[in-house]
């Protein structure tokens, strides 16, 4: 599920972007050690394969009219190994952002983490732990299934966490989480079934392709994976517990006056001019909402505008912007009509 710019706050977006960039850089270094330049073409074409594979849809049982398709992260991690798989899926996510505009530019960090890094590594790790080598057995298939469901669920779990840390949405965290996990349980099941079916097909047709036989052996040390998971869990836990204490929910707005709608009636009236001014200042001058210097607000008390004129200024702003765009458009039309005559 592609995260959008608008559902993230700036600190969360830049933070996740930094994490994603750092880990991608690390993975690239790692992959260059493992893979020779002759596998570059293979990785590129398999990325394109993921795109194409997402178009092959199958009709779902019990839900007529709906159809599902595969995501492919776990399949690729199984075939290419986790590092190369993570790079390929990340490049797919980047192309989806840049060419197809799925998910925003600043949300790219979140999307890379949720849909590429986490599913590839977690999926590969679970697959390896559950199957212990021999491909083609029932155990291997069940293990693949399990890996797919959990890998997708882990990615889906991070979406509400990031949204909640940003505080843009007012949907309660638990509702969002349950919805995402529920929907992605189905997605994961479909993914698992298709992945197993494709691997079974490959086993019959091209047994040399299946389980990471392609580019040199990759080893994920169990200790490293468990440590990473623990750090991740701690970080998320810490973030969420911080959040529980100062989540900007509806309450925040009910005790203070809304600065952008000046004639909004306060539910719990707090008429102290200092409080009003602080909130006023906060939304007026803060580059990052919720993070502003409160001390310098005191001097600004006198600058409040009466409600009616605020309405008119907003009207002027919107109409003015619309007019500007109309003028630009008309000018472009006129200039464009003139050009062919000259030529």
């Amino acid at each position: 599920m592609h995260m959008a710019n608008e559902l993230l706050s700036l600190p969360v977006a830049t933070g996740t972007l930094a994490i994603a960039v750092a880990s991608l850089g690390f993975v690239c270094r790692k992959v260059r050690q493992i893979i020779a330049s002759d596998k570059v073409a293979l990785m590129g074409v398999l990325g394109a394969f993921i795109f194409a594979a997402q178009m092959v849809n199958i009709q779902l049982p019990a839900m007529p009219g709906t159809s599902g398709h595969m995501v492919g992260a776990v399949l690729l991690a199984i075939i290419l190994g986790p590092h190369a798989g993570a790079i390929v899926i990340s490049s797919v996510v980047i192309i989806q952002c840049l060419i197809f505009q799925d998910g925003g530019l600043l949300a790219l960090g979140c999307n890379i983490i949720n849909m590429a890094l986490v599913p590839s590594y977690l999926g590969y790790f679970l697959y390896k732990t559950a199957t212990t080598g021999q491909a083609g057995s029932l155990r291997a298939y069940l293990g693949t299934m399990f890996a797919c469901v959990l890998a997708i669920e882990a990615g889906a779990f991070l979406v509400p966490v990031q949204a909640a840390l940003s505080g843009v949405l007012v949907v309660p965290f638990s509702t969002f989480l349950i919805t995402m996990l529920g929907v992605h349980f189905l997605v994961g099941l479909i993914e698992g079934v298709i992945t197993v079916a494709v691997i079974a097909y490959l086993q019959q047709v091209r047994p040399d392709v299946v389980p990471d036989s392609l580019p040199g052996k990759v080893r994920l040390s169990r200790k490293a994976v468990i440590t990473t998971l623990a750090v991740f869990a701690l970080a998320i836990g810490a973030g969420l517990s911080l959040l529980a204490s100062d989540l900007p929910d509806g309450l925040e707005w009910s005790y203070a006056e809304r600065p952008d709608q000046t004639d909004f009636e306060t539910a719990v009236s707090n008429e102290s001019p200092a409080v009003v001014a602080v909130d006023d200042f906060q939304s007026k001058y803060s580059p990052l909402p919720d993070y502003s210097l409160r001390s310098s607000a005191i001097g600004k008390i006198g600058e409040e505008e009466p409600g009616v004129s605020a309405g008119w200024t907003s009207f002027a702003g919107v109409v003015g912007s619309a007019l500007t765009m109309a003028v630009i458009w008309l000018a472009a039309q006129i200039l464009r009509k003139k050009q062919p005559q000259r030529a």
Binding site: E6, A41, V45, V92, D260, S321
Partner: protein
Amino acid sequence: MHHAHIDKFAYQDSLIHRLDCRIKFMVLLVFTAVVISLPRTSPGILTCYAIGPFTILVWAKIPLRFVFKHILLVSPFVVVLALSCPLYDKTPVTVAFGPIIWQSSLGWMRCFTILAKFIVTMSALIALVSTTRFNDLLTGLQRLGVPKLLTVQLGFLYRYIFVLIDRTHRMLRARAGRKLRNLGFKAELKIAAAMLGSLLVRSIDNAEHTNIAMQARGFDGNWRTISKLQIHRADYVFATAAAFFLLVLHFFVKPVVL
């Protein structure tokens, strides 16, 4: 096949198209960051910010219908989440917009802000992508420090997406032509797995052929392009104009007003 023409406007020519892609990319990054850090409950101010991408799109002769169609295509997830805001935040507010004054809730304000931000940042992203050739963008990204392995990977991916998508379209058409009804989940799954499996095997074989051809021509992991990036005077003018635009909006258009 609508995919095949998704960045067709990148091959036009205009002043915007000729700008250096690194400058355009950085401007887009800053613009997006500024827009998403705007207050969450004042949709009005975003019309002022919309002037920026709008000017660039019009100047670069990108049809606005194409832009809106594209934004609509990628919007469902955001629209669902934005529409859920009014359900949870029912704090009443009085909205004064010029002569009209009406009662609404804060949730609706949030909803419209999210949607407006979505439209503004998406049109800015489309403005970058449809005025920059992807290969130039990759060269620029590599100069900005993106690992070479990743840019080469992206270049390959871009080269082969449309090939494989066309191939898949043919397979899907063949399936639709032979299978005239729903065959039940098991049969459907078997067909899909065979399609995906053969697609995968063909991709791997393709990659092998490409690799042999590239090795024969001396590919050593470096991507050599003839696109030479140079920052001209126009680029400085563009960057200054963009900075001026954002600064003016930041200091003269206050969220409290809107």
